[in-house]
């Protein structure tokens, strides 16, 4: 018992130390590009955590997360442009909109498993992309540009520095990790894992499979949409070609898988490996449209799924256990 408490305390201390490191990082490393890469790490970490709730825990492998990301980005941006709604309200509104869409699509798909669910999620995300690509009200293929406003925390807009974006994204990531931790340690998490193992057995044990699957999808959609709103406020321009791509959806799955699907920190570690790797190779190779960076990326995906399908989290936790 004593050793167990000791172990927990050490883990908490290690967690706080890592968090402090991230808080200090942009104050020490001042080059905007490095800060930008870290912001992307946090954002894709959050998207990975969101995917993990439905994929890693509840066993629904979604290849259409970009649709929720995009819906979040579009909802807050449209509300802000058309009605002057504050982006912070848009953040919640986008989450709600994505959750509603997720429920509408998740309910009919509640019998689908494995590959079947994966293909259905691609079809769904493609429909969403095509609709936004032709929807004049939200700018169709041209997308939406957010108007310049005074920079302030209330406006969710900062021109002079990336620092506020960095801390906001870090906070959002922590929120999503807290949600994931709560789910993983609560009854809901056990239900999710039971559903992942077998629908039939979960049902026999008295788990309302349809309801809990819907909850997993809706929570995941909500968090992904929040990341979408953040992206819109950060880049200030969105179009279906940048926020609703199949490539983004695949990247999210890959991040979660590389880190370790079904573990709380896994997706964050996956993002911390993959995002800097792809950003810095792109810079190093110089983007000339020759596809070399994507070539390496494809090779990486293939190798990871062949040799590290369980993710590096397992490796990390083994090392961590030895150290403590």
């Amino acid at each position: 018992m004593v050793t167990h408490i000791n172990f927990t305390i050490r883990r908490i201390i290690a967690g706080i130390a890592i968090l402090l490191l991230f808080i200090v990082f942009p104050l020490v490393v001042r080059q905007p590009f490095h800060v930008h890469v870290m912001i992307l790490v946090f954002m894709f970490g959050m998207l990975g955590v969101a995917w993990n709730i439905m994929g890693g825990y509840a066993g629904m492998f979604s290849f259409g997360q970009a649709a929720f990301f995009g819906i979040g980005a579009y909802t807050s941006s449209y509300l802000s442009i058309a009605y002057g709604v504050n982006p912070w309200i848009g953040l919640v509104a986008g989450g709600c909109a994505a959750s509603l869409v997720a429920a509408a699509i998740g309910y009919p798909c509640s019998n689908l498993r494995g590959h079947y669910f994966a293909i259905a999620s691609i079809a769904f995300a493609e429909i969403v992309r095509i609709v936004f690509n032709n929807w004049q009200m939200v700018g169709a293929a041209e997308g939406l540009s957010l108007p310049m406003q005074n920079e302030s925390f209330a406006n969710f807009l900062f021109n002079s520095s990336k620092l506020p974006y960095y801390y906001i994204m870090l906070a959002l990531l922590l929120v999503s990790l807290a949600v994931c931790y709560f789910i993983a340690t609560s009854k809901m998490g056990y239900y999710f894992r039971a559903i992942k193992e077998s629908h039939k057995i979960a049902e026999v044990l008295g788990v309302n499979v349809v309801l809990y699957r819907l909850m997993a999808i809706m929570i995941s959609a909500f968090l992904s949409a929040m990341a979408g709103t953040f992206y819109a406020q950060y880049i200030l321009y969105i179009d279906p070609g940048s926020v609703m791509l199949l490539a983004t959806s695949i990247q999210i799955v890959l991040i979660a898988m590389l880190g370790g699907a079904g573990s709380i920190m896994g997706p964050v570690i996956g993002a911390a490996i993959l995002i800097p790797a792809s950003e810095y190779t792109r810079v190093a190779l110089g983007y000339k449209g020759t596809g070399v960076d994507m070539l390496i990326y494809g090779l990486l995906i293939t190798l990871i799924s062949m040799y590290y399908p369980e993710g590096v989290w397992k490796l990390f936790s083994r090392i961590g256990r030895k150290l403590t």
Binding site: L112, F124, E126, I127, V253, M306, P309
Partner: protein, 286 residues
């Protein structure tokens, strides 16, 4: 108006038969191995480029490069199965889903690297021009591709139902363990099926190159549609894929005709989602 409608029906049928030909290979792979091959569209692209370069460099007409496409893509499929896909067959289901995504990104960007992302179109080959029948115009390359699709599907059906190897494939598809107990080398069946599936899409690529743009990213759209066709027809069902391909082609052109052409693919995906909602195993699946 009736002429226009007939024209749309004819176009839908022609593009639908193309989808059938693309989807047959995919459904075979899926049925036998329970693997979703996301690189299928990229194999189509390789078939198209093979036929394109054979014509451009050596003057071999696409109609004669079909056997070359078949053989080279067959070997390619076997190699990819042996060295990549077979390695994840026993791994987690997520790895099985993601590995072919990796292969697909790799192949399409390799094509970008060697051949640039440009759109290319074959100049008029032996198959060109249009037939005027009454009020409707039929493009001859498309008709040839459709005939090819029917022949290939027929051959495939015959192969599976009548030959020993074909029956072994079907047996593996129905019950892998039982097939293994009956003395079927299921590992060999796997690589054979992957090879045949890839070879068929290579043939589809050769036909498609006679009337469609050849470019490295061409596989994305056709690949996604092929998944819907396969799922609609029932996973692993050749007849199902054949019929579903035609249905999807018709849905696409008629949907574009009655609603809005820019939504035609959204309509296809919508029909797919509605079908699996009502009948998750697809039209002909079990």
């Amino acid at each position: 108006m009736p002429d226009q409608l007939l024209q749309q029906l004819a176009d839908g049928l022609l593009i639908g038969l193309m989808y059938s030909l693309i989807a047959i290979g995919l459904t075979l792979i899926w049925g036998v191995m329970n693997i979703v091959n996301f690189a299928h569209g990229e194999f189509l692209m390789l078939g198209m480029f093979t036929s394109f370069w054979l014509f451009t460099l050596y003057g071999i007409d696409p109609i004669f490069s079909i056997p070359i496409c078949f053989v080279s893509m067959f070997i390619m499929g076997m190699l990819i199965y042996r060295f990549i896909v077979s390695k994840v067959m026993k791994g987690p289901i997520l790895a099985q889903l993601v590995v072919t995504f990796g292969v697909s990104i790799f192949i399409s960007n390799l094509a970008v690297y060697f051949w640039t992302p440009d759109f290319r179109l074959l100049p008029s080959t032996i198959l060109h021009g249009t037939w005027q029948i009454g009020g409707i115009a039929l493009s001859i390359p498309k008709v040839a591709a459709s005939v090819g699709s029917v022949i290939a599907s027929g051959c495939m059906f015959f192969f599976l139902q009548r030959t020993r190897t074909g029956k072994a494939i079907l047996a593996t598809e129905m019950d892998r363990e039982a097939a293994l107990l009956m003395g079927i080398n299921t590992e060999r069946i796997n690589s054979l099926s992957f090879g045949i599936g890839t070879a068929l899409v290579g043939v589809a690529g050769a036909f498609l190159s006679t009337y469609y743009y050849v470019y490295p990213q061409v596989g994305g759209l056709f690949g996604t549609i092929a998944f819907c066709v396969v799922a609609l027809g029932g996973f692993g069902s050749i007849e199902g894929a054949f019929i579903a391909g035609i249905l999807v082609g018709l849905a696409q052109t008629l949907g574009g005709f009655f609603f809005d052409p820019s939504y035609k693919y959204a309509i296809v995906f919508m029909i797919y989602l509605i079908t699996i909602w009502i009948k998750p195993q697809g039209l002909m699946g079990w």
